[in-house]
C-alpha cells in the first residue's frame, strides 16, 4: 500500500509539525508513505470564493501529483472533502475518479483502512474536541447533532486510544468555529464572534487544549485567543496520537 501524503498549503507553511506528525505516525504504523514535492493545494480557496473554473488547473495539478498512489491521505477533512466532492467538475477520467475515491482524511484512514485499535501514546489532559464542519458533515467523520442516528466520532475514537486523555463535554458539540475560508475575511465580524463563542464554550468546560482535525479552524481560534491573551493551546489530533506533549 503506497500512500501519497497531502499536506495542505497552510499546514505546509504554518504548521509543519502537523505534517511531520502525520508522516511519522503513518510510518510508525508501518505504512509506505511518500510526500510528492511538487504538490501545492487542492484548490478549495478559489472554489469557495466562487472561482471554481479558475481552480481547474490546480485540480489537474493535484490529480497529476497524486493519481499514482493507492491512497491520498491528508490531515484535513476540509481539503479531502473538497477533492471528493468538487472534483466532479473535471472530466471523470480513471485518474480523477481514483483520486476522488482514494482521498481520505487521516482519521478516516486510521479508522476505516488501518482499523487502528491501539497506539503508544499518553496525554494526561482535558481535551476540547472541535468537530470541524467539512469533515463532520461532508465526510461524516462523526454523527452531526442535527441527525437522528447513533452517535460516533472517528477522531474521538482514535484519540480514545491515547492513555489518560480526558474529554470535556461542550454545550454545542458541533457548532461551526466561523473560519470558513474567505468567509473569515468577507464576514469578519461574524467570523470573529463565532470564534469567540466557540472558545468560550471550550474554556468554560475547562479544556486545557483545543483539538481538531483541521488546522484552518485552529488557526482562526488560535488567532483570536492570542489577540485576547487567552492561552489555551491548539493541537491537531495527529500530534497527540504521535506523542507530542503540551
Amino acid at each position: 500500500m503506497n500512500i501519497g501524503l497531502f499536506i495542505p498549503c497552510y499546514v505546509d507553511q504554518f504548521y509543519p509539525q502537523v505534517g511531520i506528525a502525520s508522516l511519522e505516525l503513518l510510518q510508525n504504523l508501518g505504512c509506505k508513505v511518500h510526500y510528492p514535492m511538487q504538490q501545492s493545494c487542492c484548490g478549495q480557496p478559489m472554489a469557495n470564493a466562487g472561482f471554481e473554473k479558475d481552480a481547474i488547473p490546480t485540480y489537474e495539478h493535484f490529480v497529476r501529483t497524486f493519481s499514482s498512489y493507492d491512497y491520498i491521505v491528508a490531515p484535513s477533512g476540509s481539503c479531502t472533502y473538497h477533492v471528493r466532492k468538487h472534483y466532479d467538475l473535471l472530466p471523470q477520467s480513471q485518474e480523477v475518479m481514483h483520486v476522488r475515491e482514494r482521498s481520505l482524511d487521516l482519521a478516516e484512514f486510521l479508522v476505516d483502512v488501518m482499523k487502528l485499535d491501539k497506539i503508544e501514546s499518553r496525554f494526561p489532559h482535558k481535551v476540547g474536541l472541535h468537530q470541524s464542519c467539512h469533515g463532520l458533515r461532508g465526510l461524516r467523520l462523526a454523527s452531526g447533532s442535527e441527525r437522528v442516528q447513533s452517535s460516533f466520532s472517528k477522531i474521538r475514537d482514535v484519540l480514545n486510544l491515547v492513555d489518560e486523555i480526558e474529554f470535556v463535554e461542550l454545550d454545542r458539540q458541533d457548532e461551526c468555529c466561523g473560519f470558513g475560508g474567505t468567509f473569515a475575511v468577507n464576514e469578519e465580524a461574524i467570523s470573529v464572534k463565532m470564534g469567540k463563542d466557540r472558545i468560550q464554550d471550550h474554556k468554560s468546560k475547562g479544556a486545557e487544549v483545543i483539538v481538531a482535525g483541521d488546522m484552518s479552524c485552529l488557526m482562526h481560534l488560535e488567532g483570536i485567543m492570542r489577540r485576547n491573551k487567552e492561552n489555551i493551546p491548539v493541537r491537531h489530533f495527529v500530534e497527540i496520537l504521535n506523542g507530542t506533549q503540551l
Partner: protein, 456 residues
C-alpha cells in the same frame, strides 16, 4: 463592504444583544433536536418527505390542475397570480366586490413577500395581522426577522414599550402573559368587525382540493370562522398529491419549526361555509423560474419551518434583517439570488458552508451545496469586486504551479516574519483586525521533508 457583512457587523456591535438572540434561537434548535430524536424513523421520514416533494415538483402542472379541479368542484373560487402585483390586485378585487373595509390576516409570509399590507392600506382597506408576532412587527412597522417567529429579534421590554405606546398597556410592563392578554383583547374587536379573513397555506392537497393551515394561536381559524369571506394565498409549490401525504409533513413541520410534536391547530379548509365565499390564490412570483433552474429547483421543496435559520450560526448572530428579504437565513440565501442576482449577490457568501442547514432541513434541501453553486454563478457573471477576481486568478496561477507556489510562499513568509507589526497589521489586513496572524515557523514542512524526511 457589501450589505450583509455591514449589517451583521452593526448587529454584533451590541454583543450582549447578539448573545441573547443567538441563545434564544439555540433554545429552539435544542427543542427541535429533542423532539426529532424522539422519532426513531426521523431520517426515513425526511427521505420520504423529500421524495414526495421531488415527485410533486416534477409533475407540478399535473398536481396544480388536479388541485384546481377539485377545489372548484368544492365550490371554491381559484385564482392564479403570476407575480406579486397580480396577487395584490386579485385580493383587492375580491375585497372590493364584497365591499370589504376590514380584513384580518394570519400566517402568511407570502403576502409579506408580495407587499400586500401597504398595497391594501393605500386602497383604504384596514388590514390587521392577528398572530401575536406579526401584530407586533405590524405595530412597529418593521419587516419580520424570521418566518416562524417574526418578532424574535425583539425583547419583551421592547414589546412592553411598544404596547404601552400603541395599546395603552402599563408603562414598564414586561410580563408576557399580561402583554399577550392585552393583545388578545385588542384583537378581539378586530375579529368581530372584520368582513374578510385571509390566511396562508401550509399544504394544498391535490386529491381533495383542500388547504391546510398550521398555527399555534388559532387566530387564522377565528378569523375564518367569523368573516363571511375567506381567502387563502399560497405559493404554487405548496401543493402535495394526496391527503395521506399530509401526515408525513405535519410530523416534520412542527418538530422542525418550534420543537412541538404538532402545531396546536392544524386546520383543514375544504369548502366555503354556508352563505360564505372561499377563495384560493395560487401565486407564482418567480417560482416557476426557479423550477426551471436545475441546480436550484429543489429549494422549492421548502415547507418554511425555519429550522435552517435556528441552526445557522450566521443567522443567529446577524439577525433576520441583515438578509433584507422576507425569507432570511440559509434558505433565503438560495431563493434571493434567483430573484435578483445583483442585489443579493452577497448572501450566498454569508455562510461558512458548515452544512448544518442541510442536515437539519426536514425535506433534505441541499442548502449549502446550492450556496456553493450560486457563488460560482455570481462570480462568473461579474457581481464580485474586480479586485477579488484578480486576487483569485492570481492565486489560481500560483497554486497550480509548484515553482510559482514556492516563490510566492517564500515572499509571504519573509514579509510575515520581518515586517514590523504596524505594517503587518495595516487596515487592509482584515484578518488581523481582531485576530493574530499565525506565527511563521523557520521551516515549512516541505523544507523539513527535503532535509530530514526519510521515505519509508
Amino acid at each position: 463592504m457589501s450589505k450583509h457583512p455591514q449589517k451583521a457587523a452593526d448587529f454584533i456591535a451590541n454583543e450582549a444583544r447578539t448573545d441573547w438572540h443567538d441563545q434564544s434561537l439555540w433554545v429552539v434548535r435544542e427543542k427541535r433536536d429533542k423532539l426529532a430524536k424522539g422519532i426513531a424513523e426521523w431520517e426515513e421520514l425526511r427521505e420520504l418527505a423529500s421524495q414526495i416533494k421531488d415527485h410533486t415538483l416534477s409533475h407540478l402542472d399535473h398536481y396544480l390542475e388536479e388541485f384546481e379541479k377539485n377545489a372548484l368542484a368544492n365550490g371554491v373560487q381559484v385564482h392564479w397570480a403570476k407575480d406579486a402585483e397580480t396577487h395584490n390586485h386579485i385580493v383587492h378585487d375580491i375585497l372590493q366586490k364584497q365591499k370589504v373595509r376590514r380584513l384580518v390576516k394570519s400566517k402568511s409570509m407570502l403576502t409579506e413577500e408580495c407587499g400586500l399590507n401597504p398595497f391594501l392600506e393605500k386602497q383604504g382597506i384596514e388590514i390587521i395581522d392577528t398572530d401575536l408576532g406579526e401584530r407586533i412587527i405590524q405595530l412597529k412597522d418593521e419587516p419580520p426577522s424570521h418566518i416562524v417567529m417574526p418578532a424574535i429579534h425583539l425583547k419583551k421590554e421592547e414589546i412592553g414599550e411598544l404596547f404601552h405606546e400603541k395599546l395603552q398597556t402599563e408603562k414598564g410592563a414586561t410580563d408576557p402573559q399580561y402583554l399577550t392578554e392585552a393583545a388578545r383583547q385588542h384583537l378581539r374587536s378586530h375579529f368581530l368587525q372584520a368582513d374578510a379573513a385571509l390566511s396562508g397555506v401550509n399544504f394544498a392537497v391535490a386529491e381533495t382540493g383542500g388547504v391546510t393551515v398550521c398555527t399555534n394561536e388559532g387566530n387564522a381559524d377565528m378569523g375564518i370562522h367569523l368573516a363571511p369571506v375567506q381567502i387563502h394565498c399560497m405559493g404554487l409549490e405548496k401543493v402535495i398529491p394526496r391527503q395521506k401525504d399530509l401526515g408525513v409533513f405535519t410530523r416534520l413541520l412542527a418538530r422542525s419549526a418550534t420543537g412541538q410534536p404538532i402545531t396546536i391547530y392544524t386546520s383543514h379548509h375544504l369548502k366555503p361555509k354556508p352563505g360564505g365565499e372561499m377563495h384560493i390564490v395560487i401565486v407564482d412570483n418567480g417560482r416557476s423560474e426557479q423550477l426551471g433552474r436545475e441546480d436550484f429547483r429543489n429549494s422549492l421543496k421548502c415547507i418554511r419551518c425555519g429550522a435552517c435559520m435556528n441552526t445557522c450560526p450566521i443567522y443567529r448572530r446577524s439577525g433576520g434583517h441583515s438578509y433584507d428579504y422576507t425569507v432570511p437565513g440559509p434558505i433565503g440565501s438560495i431563493l434571493t439570488p434567483g430573484k435578483d442576482l445583483k442585489k443579493y449577490s452577497d448572501l450566498p457568501f454569508a455562510s461558512t458552508l458548515c452544512g448544518s442547514c442541510t442536515d437539519v432541513c426536514p425535506v433534505k434541501i441541499d442548502i449549502h451545496q446550492q450556496l456553493y453553486k450560486w457563488r460560482q454563478i455570481i462570480a462568473e457573471e461579474g457581481h464580485l469586486p474586480k479586485a477579488k477576481a484578480r486576487e483569485m486568478s492570481m492565486a489560481a496561477k500560483v497554486l497550480s504551479s509548484p515553482k510559482a507556489y514556492r516563490r510566492a510562499t517564500k515572499w509571504m513568509r519573509r514579509l510575515m516574519r520581518f515586517l514590523p507589526r504596524p505594517l503587518l497589521y495595516l487596515n487592509r489586513n482584515v484578518w488581523g483586525k481582531q485576530r493574530e496572524l499565525p506565527q511563521v515557523p523557520r521551516q515549512t514542512f516541505k523544507d523539513w521533508y527535503k532535509h530530514e524526511g526519510n521515505e519509508s
